[in-house]
Symmetry: C2
Subunit: 485 residues, 2 copies
C-alpha cells in the first residue's frame, strides 16, 4: 500500500507539473496533494519495513481490493483540495470511476475545470489501466478467478513458479506496449487536428478504456472531424484486445494473433454488431430525418461512423460518445443495453463479462444439449485448440451467474433509492461493466451527478466489484475468507 501511495504521489507531481505549465491556479493544491500522498506512503513503508515480502494466495485478494481503494482514497486529494469537487462523495465517485476505468462522471462542466485537474482526471484512468493489465494477466490467473487461469501460460516472461519476478517481468513488457500505444495515439490525434492537451488526455482515456473526455460533449465535439474519431476507434479496439496479443504482434508472431480464438470472435462480434447498428441508423435516419436523432446522421459515412464508434466504445467499455445512442431507436436502445454485458477481451483494459467467457459459456451451453442426450458421455469444451478443464468452465459459469445476480441486486438497490426503471437497470449494467454512460436519466448526454448520495456510493461499489472480476472483492465478505486455516 505504501508503495502504491508513492507511485500515486509521483503521478500527482506530474499533474502538478501540467498545472504549473498551464498556470491554471491550482498548482499549489495539487502539489500539496502529492506531498501528502508521498508522506503517508513513506510512513507506511517505514512502519512495515520489517515485514516479510512473501504474498500468500489469500492475502492476494485483500491486497488487490485494498490497493484499488487506497489509490481511490488518496486520488480524491487533488479534486478536493483544489475545490474542483468540494464534496467527498462526488470526489470519491469521480476518482473510483477513474481508477476502475469506468468513466462515469458527476461533473456538469468539465471544460471550466483547471487543466491540472482535467489532466489528473485522465491520469486516474491511465493508472487504473496499468493496474488492470498486470491484474488480468499476472495476478488473477494465480488467484483462480473466473477462468482467467486459461491465460496463466499465455503471459510473456519467465515461466517461474514464484509470483514476484514473473509479475515484474510481465508488467514491464506489457506496460511498454501500453505507453507506446498512448504515445502513438497522442501523436496521431495531434496530427489529425487536436490540441496536444486534448490529444494526450484522450489517449490516456482510450488506452485504459476509461472514457473521461476533456469536452462536455465527449467525442461528439469532433463530429465534423471524422479522422479524429476513426483514430480513437482504432485505439479503443486495440485497448479492448488482449495486450499479450499486441506483444506477440510486435514480436512478429502475427500467426499467433490471428489463430487466437478470442481475438477472432472479438473481431467477428464487432463486425456483426456494427452492421446491425449501421443499417438501423442509416435506414431510420433516411426514412424519418431528424425525428429520432439528436444529430444529423443522414449520410452513409456518418451513419456508419457513429454506429462503429458507439459499438466499439460500448463493447470495449470505453464509453466515449459521439451521439446519444439511447435516442436512436427503441431497438438500438435494447441492443446497446445488451452490449453493456459483452466486455472486451480478457487481458485487455476493458471491463464487463469479456468475450472469452461468452464464447466458453455458449460453447458449453450447446454441448449441454449433447450431454442431455448422452448422459454418460464425457464431452469437454475446447478453446484455442485445447481442452478446457471442467473446473475452469464452472468457474466461468459461476462468474456469469454472480455477474447477473449482482446486476439484478444492483438495479434493485438503485430502484429502491428512487431511480426510475430504465435508469436503474442501465446504471447498474454500466457501473458493473465499467462502461460509463447508461440509459434513462443517466444517458450519454447526461451524467451521474443527479444520483442520490447513497446511489453514488453503491455505483462506486459496483464499479470496483466489476473491475476486480467480482470474486476478488466479494470474497472478502464471506466467512470463509476470515476463517483461520
Amino acid at each position: 500500500m505504501g508503495l502504491l501511495l508513492l507511485c500515486n504521489g509521483g503521478f500527482m507531481l506530474l499533474a502538478a507539473l501540467v498545472s504549473g505549465l498551464y498556470q491554471d491556479g491550482v498548482t499549489q493544491e495539487i502539489t500539496l496533494s502529492a506531498i501528502l500522498t508521498l508522506l503517508i506512503g513513506i510512513v507506511a513503508m517505514f512502519f512495515t519495513r520489517g515485514h516479510k515480502k512473501e504474498v500468500k494466495r489469500k492475502e492476494g485478494y485483500l491486497i488487490v481490493t485494498l490497493g484499488w481503494l487506497v489509490m481511490s482514497v488518496s486520488g480524491i486529494l487533488p479534486y478536493y483540495l483544489s475545490g474542483a469537487i468540494p464534496n467527498i462523495t462526488d470526489a470519491f465517485f469521480e476518482t473510483i470511476s477513474g481508477y476502475t476505468t469506468t468513466g462515469a462522471s458527476i461533473l456538469n462542466d468539465i471544460e471550466r475545470l483547471p487543466r491540472g485537474i482535467i489532466f489528473w482526471r485522465s491520469l486516474t484512468h491511465w493508472i487504473g489501466g496499468m493496474g488492470i493489465i498486470v491484474l488480468a494477466i499476472a495476478i488473477l490467473p494465480l488467484l483462480g478467478i473466473g477462468g482467467m487461469q486459461l491465460f496463466a501460460a499465455e503471459a510473456p516472461g519467465p515461466n517461474a513458479d514464484k509470483l514476484h519476478p514473473r509479475i515484474t517481468d510481465t508488467a514491464k513488457r506489457l506496460w511498454l506496449i501500453y505507453v507506446g500505444y498512448t504515445a502513438a495515439e497522442t501523436i496521431l490525434l495531434q496530427l489529425a487536428g487536436m490540441t496536444f492537451f486534448d490529444a494526450i488526455n484522450h489517449a490516456m482515456a482510450t488506452l485504459s478504456t476509461g472514457g473521461f473526455s476533456t469536452r462536455n460533449a465527449s467525442l461528439a465535439y469532433w463530429n465534423d472531424q471524422p479522422l479524429i474519431q476513426y483514430i480513437v476507434i482504432l485505439f479503443m479496439f486495440l485497448a479492448g484486445g488482449n495486450f499479450v496479443l499486441s506483444y506477440f504482434a510486435f514480436k512478429g508472431k502475427v500467426q499467433r494473433v490471428l489463430r487466437d480464438e478470442e481475438f477472432k470472435y472479438y473481431g467477428i462480434f464487432i463486425v456483426l454488431f456494427v452492421i446491425v447498428a449501421a443499417v438501423v441508423v442509416y435506414t431510420r435516419a433516411n426514412v424519418q430525418p431528424g425525428e429520432m436523432f439528436p444529430m444529423v446522421l443522414g449520410e452513409g459515412e456518418s451513419a456508419f461512423r457513429h454506429a462503429l464508434f458507439q459499438v466499439v466504445a460500448v463493447i470495449t467499455t470505453t464509453g466515449f460518445v459521439t451521439a446519444d445512442f439511447t435516442a436512436w431507436t427503441p431497438f438500438l436502445t435494447v441492443f446497446f443495453f445488451g452490449l453493456m454485458f459483452s466486455g472486451g477481451s480478457a487481458g485487455s483494459t476493458a471491463g464487463g463479462i469479456k468475450i472469452m467467457r461468452h464464447i466458453l459459456i455458449i460453447k458449453n451451453g450447446l454441448l449441454e444439449f449433447k450431454r442431455t442426450l448422452h448422459p454418460n458421455a464425457i464431452i469437454p469444451v475446447r478453446f484455442n485448440q485445447k481442452t478446457v478443464t471442467e473446473h475452469i468452465v464452472y468457474n466461468i459459469i459461476g462468474f456469469f451467474v454472480l455477474y447477473m445476480l449482482l446486476f439484478l441486486i444492483g438495479a434493485s438497490v438503485l430502484g429502491m433509492l428512487g431511480l426510475d426503471f430504465v435508469s436503474a437497470i442501465g446504471g447498474a449494467a454500466s457501473s458493473l461493466g465499467n462502461v460509463g454512460p447508461a440509459f434513462g436519466s443517466l444517458n450519454p448526454l447526461s451524467n451521474f451527478s443527479g444520483l442520490p448520495v447513497l446511489g453514488k456510493w453503491w455505483c462506486a461499489f459496483l464499479m470496483l466489484a466489476g473491475r476486480l472480476e467480482l470474486f476478488t472483492v466479494l470474497i472478502l465478505f464471506t466467512p470463509y475468507f476470515w476463517k483461520r486455516t
Copy 2:
C-alpha cells in the same frame, strides 16, 4: 398425439355444454370444433394403431413439445369458428397463452365474449396445468432436464423403472388433488359472493397459475370484496407449491412438508417480499395519496392485501391483477420485474426459473468462494439434507444461463420489432416466465393486442420454451438431436 386430440375434443364438448346451458349462441360452433378435433384424433390413432408403445428418451422431447403444439393448434378452433377471435395469429396467441398457463391476452373486451368461449379460455389453462403436473413430476426427471432429476424419487406411486405405469399412477394421484383444489376454490369463491360461472373460471385459472379472468379488470373487479381476493391468494399459493407436498399433507405426513427445503424458502421469500412491497405501498400511499396509484390504497389492510396479492400472483406466475403494480413506485417496478424471474416451486403449475433452482444456484455460488480459497477440496452442495451431484448442479446452472440468454435474445427481438425498451424486456421476461402481465405498453391494465404479428409469434415461442423448461423445446433445434446414434 391422437390421444391428446381425443382428450382435447372431450374438453371442447364440455365447453359446448356450458355454451348450450347459457345459450350464448355459439354452441354449434364449439360442438363443430369438438367433432373436428375428435375426428382428427381418431384418424391419427387409427393410422398409428400398429406402432410400438415404447417411448425412448429422445422421442420424449419431441412428444412433449409436439404435444403442446398439437393441443394449441386444435385449441384455436372454438375461438376461430365462433368468430370470437377472427384472426389466426391472435387465436394461436390466446390458445398457447392458455395451455402454457401464461395468461397474456390479446382480447380487449373479455366480458362481451360468449360464455362458452370464456369457459373454453379458462379450460385451456386448466388442461395445460394438468399437463404440467405430470410433466414436472414424472417426465422431466426422466429426460434429465434442468435439475428436475432431484425430484425423481419424490413422485408418489410405485418406484418402477418403466416409464408408463409410473406416469399413469403419479398423474392419477396428483390430478385428484388438482381437481379437488379446483372444486374447493370454486365453492369458497361462490360462498364469498362470486357467481358460479366467475367462480369456476377463476378456480381453473388459479390452480393452473394461468391468470385469465372473466373480467376486463381481472381481480380488481372485486377490490371491494377482500374475502374473494384472500381466497384467490390462498389457492395461488397452493398452486405455486409442489403438488407432491400437497399429496403428502393429505396423507397426514405434515412433517414431510415442513421439512421440505424448497417449501421453506418458498414461504420465506413470499413473506420477505410482501413485507418490502407492503411497506413501500403503505408509506407512499399515505405520503402522496392518489398521486402514483390508480386505486386508493390508503388503508393498512388494503395496502397489505394488494402487496400480498401481487407478490403471490407474480411469484407463482399466475398474473392476476388487483392493481397496476407497474405504476406504484419506480422501486416496486424494478422489484416486480425481478420477481418475474423467481417462479414458484418445482412440481407446481408455476413457470419461471423456480425457487429450487435459485436456492441451489445461490448455495453453489457461496460455496464457489470457499472452493476458490481451497482449490483442492471437494465441497458439494446439499439440498433437503442430501448431497446434490455435480452433474445436477451444473444442469441447473446451465438452465439458468440459458434462461437469461433466451431472455436477452427475447427482449432484443421484441425491441427489433419496434417495442420500446421497457415493454421489450418486460414482455420477454413475462412470456418466458409464463406470468402474463408485463411492463410499459404491456402493463397489467393493458394487454398484448398491440404487439406486431411477428411479436405475437415470438412471444408464443417464448411461452412454450419457458413452459417446457427450455431444453425440451430448444434441444429440437440442435444437430445432436437429429443425428442417428
